[in-house]
Amino acid sequence: MEKKVNQIKDKPWLMRTYSGYASAKESNNLYRGNMAKGQTGLSIAFDLPTQTGYDSDHILAHGEVGKLGVPMRNYEDMEVLFDQIPMEKINTSMTINAPTAWVLALYIATAKKQGADISGLRGTIQNDILKEYLSRGTYIFPPKPSMRLTADVISYAVNNIPKWNPINICSYHLQESGATPVQELAYTLANAMTVLDSVKERDDVRPEDFPKVVGRISFFLNAGIRFVEEICKVRVFTKMWDRICRDHYGVEDPKLRKFRYGVQVNSLGLTERQPENNIARIIYEFLSVVLSKNARARSIQLPAWNEAFGLPRKWDQQWSLRLQQIMAFETDLLEYDDIFEGSEVISKKEKELAEEAEAELKMIMEMGGAIEALENGYMKRNLVKSNAKRLREIETGKRIVAGVNKFIEGEPSPLTENTAQSFLTVDDAVEAQQISSLKRFRKSRDPNKVTFALDHLRESIMAQENIMVASIKCAEAGVTTGEWADTLRDVFGEYRAPTGISGVLIGKLDNDNVLRLRAKIQQLNEALGRNLKLLIGKPGLDGHSNGAEQIAVKAREVGMEVVYEGIRLTPEKIAESALQEGVHVVGLSILSGSHLSLVPEVIGCMKQRGLESIPIVMGGIIPKQDIPKMDLNIIRRVYAPKDFDLNKIMNEITDVVAHANNIELSVTEDNTGDS
């Protein structure tokens, strides 16, 4: 290791806030405000219709427009989003995956219009499709064409926007799906190698340019609360990547082998109960990615204290930005060399993680790489397994979460005294406004140009040309996100990823609660005449399926028959499945905040099919004040992430079904979980 002797202060990392909502105009306003407060980079959140390639007026977009990010339908939206923000100067991160090529095309077209020299554009675009299949759920196309799109973007970027990071391979979402540090290391690096291999195969990247491609691969990491282990994890990432680049890809320049990464610290562990505690969690997690100089993050975005129950307001975002600024500018952290070099404890832990991760990585590569391990469900199955273990530990109290499963007694929090005002809500009128602005846009453009550009796009896909060129032309011609994505859907088809839930084995060490529940469900089954059948589905576009998956796994463990429908369903599809399957109860999971429009639609579609007597239970991020707004004769239970006791949930679902069928159960009632 080279040692720097001089004590020149290290440069601070880029400070971003992952944000965007309602409309391009509102978001532009927010970004300019954040930059005035000292934020040094942008991180754009797109709404779910954009992320899944639908226009605001598509049936699946209903209820989701502008909720979790900015709607981005065409060049006009991009222009408004960057109004008075010079694209040549700003460093922008865009979280977009399946339609990466499209959004980057809009970005480039807009930058050109601003008069920027596009070869100087700086920033990153997520473009990591593999983890979408594993965790985040905003994939559209099958793995192979998706990998081609990824490689198209990379090869275009290396040749045309050389300072841009055309992919950031994410371990972030793997951790959110329950990955252990070893799994994070192995799966992320396997994904990275699979991406590199697919670029390497192409003939538009010259072999002598390949090291440059390697040098443009960046990563997006998560930092969890076990921060010593996390410190070691990022250090191991740095070392393993360096080794892979050198030994596997023959990259000689050490600069091109640097593990460059951005971070969003863990949002999954943030709690709804005693939410002020989240600030402490955020800081400890943040420490793990800044403390090591040799493995320090290049850019950081911190979540806000109130993210577990709503969208952060400007003030909440400011608080998180200040945490970063205090670390970088008030503390003396940046004055020192790597403070862990030479620590035996750290290097022992590093060695342990590295050995296990190497073995796991080797296995995946021998299996045929990340795509194979994805298609055969290997990675997903292991993630679901790890997540089930993590949840069980919280349930049994083995893993302590202050204010949630321990130290529960507390004073009322002044921060949430007025719940309705302690987070941001997106006005329901936004959707209608966005639809009308889109319709106006469609009328204003030259239809011949649009048709021509789309035909050209289709032809260039068929001809195996780099999709970026035709996409930029589409952007300039006024094509919309939905039109671009539909063209690709037509050529590539759509994909449903393995759910990973069927491979999870039921543990042999069943505790008494589970056994009592099984007996109770057995009794209910006999009274019903058929086994208790539960339909689980996610309406809308939100692809975060971890919660739904865990409920499905648990329900099977206690003896229910679970019809798992997966993600991205229309309310009609859910109702139709409930009918065809003859289920006794429906479980909905909605995390995107669009419950108030989706739930009544599901209920309406069920009523049309004579299913009004089937109760619904739901889970997700549902603010308390929204619960009375739903039809509580049908919506019998609403669960939040704080309801971690899955046995209790199962017990209640059983009661809900018994009640709906006028059945009285005689099994003892004390099986309400461990706590």
């Binding site: 055969n376 088809g493 449903r496 006999e526 997966g566 065809q580 399957e581």
Partner: protein
């Protein structure tokens, strides 16, 4: 007490009205003794109303070969031909908990507004043979409504052969590298299907290698079986090719059967159903008392089985008689 069950409306069922079909399915799956009479009556009525042009297809194969995705590709081919489809997917139950994950729907895409398609998932429960105890009853329902009925189930080898006794055409799906399964077929450990599909054939190198194994199976099959030549198809459900050829092969087998005596094959299947219900109720003791499986099948040989439950009752009477006869014989011998 429990909610009053909805009335069964036969005319609506036969028209394929989904609410009525769903209610009928719920009754057919209902194990409550109080529902038995209605259930038996419904099976009988449905049996008398089977659609003459129906074709029952079984899709089976090891887990993970892409059966559901393939099914998802078959649906639009049939729907384009204006054929209505009923689908039954069967998944295993956990032996530990009795619970089950029925995840096939996530991979089957269909239009929820389409009135001519119906998909029901079921758990195999503790029933042996890979199908659920209620699969045949639900099949009887679908036979009276849909042009094509597809049963999808996991099958890996020796014990999972029940599907052959239920459907007209067996489609076995493998993927490149499934050498074991093909070896089983070659060695005669496993029945050879009517159609053998290599899915995931987009994995070209591996697919080419496995093709030899497939052809070896075909050469054995085509000397063993009568006139039907085992059809081999290569598909990629993911990329969407080869599916038309598969559907053509399925239809060809349907025609082949129609030219022969398909109703006799179906009657034989129903005889096996009677035997299955009998075995489930009275176990191997019951079967032995009636002289073993072969004898039971012989007893039923000429039965024109409209209502399998009635036939079971007949067998049951024979069983009680056999038991009392053997008691008499036993007491007679002890008297000597």
């Amino acid at each position: 007490m429990t909610v009053k069950p909805p009335d069964i409306k036969l005319d609506e069922i036969l028209k394929g009205e989904k609410v009525a079909v769903a209610q009928a399915l719920n009754l057919l799956e209902d194990k409550k003794p109080s529902s038995l009479a209605r259930r038996v009556k419904l099976v009988e009525t449905l049996s008398l109303n089977a659609k003459p042009e129906r074709h029952i297809i079984g899709i089976t194969g090891p887990p993970g070969v892409g059966k559901s995705t393939l099914l998802s590709r078959i649906i639009p081919v049939y729907r384009d031909q204006k054929k209505s489809i009923g689908i039954i997917t069967v998944d295993p139950s956990s032996k530990m908990s009795g619970g089950a994950l029925l995840g096939d729907r996530t991979r089957i895409s269909y239009d929820p507004k389409d009135a001519d398609i119906f998909i029901r998932s079921m758990a195999a429960g503790y029933h042996l043979g890979g199908l659920a105890w209620r699969t045949r009853q639900c099949l009887t329902l679908f036979e009276s409504i849909y042009d094509r009925i597809i049963i999808e189930t996991v099958g890996v080898g020796q014990s999972e052969t029940e599907i052959e006794d239920v459907v007209d055409t067996v489609v076995f799906v493998v993927q490149p590298g499934s050498g074991d399964v093909l070896q089983f077929m070659k060695a005669g450990i496993m029945e050879i299907p009517h159609i053998l599909v290599m899915n995931k054939a987009d994995r070209k190198t591996l697919a080419e290698k496995s093709k030899n194994d497939l052809e070896a199976v075909a050469s054995i099959a085509n000397t063993d079986m009568e006139e039907w030549n085992l059809a081999l198809t290569m598909t990629s459900a993911l990329e969407g090719w080869g599916v038309d050829a598969l559907v053509t092969a399925i239809e060809k087998h349907g025609l082949y059967l129609n030219e022969r005596n398909i109703s006799e094959k179906r009657r034989q299947n129903r005889i096996k159903w009677v035997h299955m219900i009998f075995r489930e109720r009275f176990g191997s003791f019951g079967v032995d008392m009636l002289g073993g499986e072969k004898n039971i099948l012989r007893l039923l040989k000429y039965a024109d089985i409209i209502n399998p439950f009635e036939e079971v009752q007949t067998l049951e009477k024979m069983l009680w008689k056999a038991i009392s006869d053997s008691r008499l014989a036993a007491s007679a011998s002890s008297a000597i």
